[in-house]
Symmetry: C2
Subunit: 77 residues, 2 copies
């Protein structure tokens, strides 16, 4: 299986969701990307349809917005 | 691992998220509950903190709202 990508920005909601997703899916199956620290990957997230974080982009390319931590616009600052 | 519970109401957003979650977590690890058809389980979902569907309640009791299909109030009709 290809990896999912979990985009987050370090917010409390993000960290909580990250723990849940890793427990459910397995750490080896998820790449975790902190777009607050690695802003070069914001455009990639936007192209995948990520509107807010935390969000999980599945191997099939679907974007699951999980709860709500911050909008992409807020992360861009 | 205890099962997660995926609450949904049959909406297109719900069905799409259900497929993604089952692919990610495995069908054996998720109980799927259609609270539009089985309204007796709405109160259980609310007690778990579900505000809208689709939502996944993890074995540790956290509620992950995934995208947005419908509010619980709408499902109650």
């Amino acid at each position: 299986m290809n990896k999912s990508i979990f985009y987050h920005a370090g917010c409390p909601v993000c960290v909580s969701a990250e723990h849940d997703i890793i427990n459910l899916v397995g750490a080896n199956n998820v790449e975790v990307v902190h777009i607050g620290e690695d802003k070069s990957r914001i455009s990639e997230a936007e192209q995948a349809g990520v509107k807010s974080v935390p969000a999980l982009v599945t191997p099939s390319g679907n974007t699951l917005h999980i709860n709500f931590g911050a909008s992409i616009e807020d992360v861009k600052g």
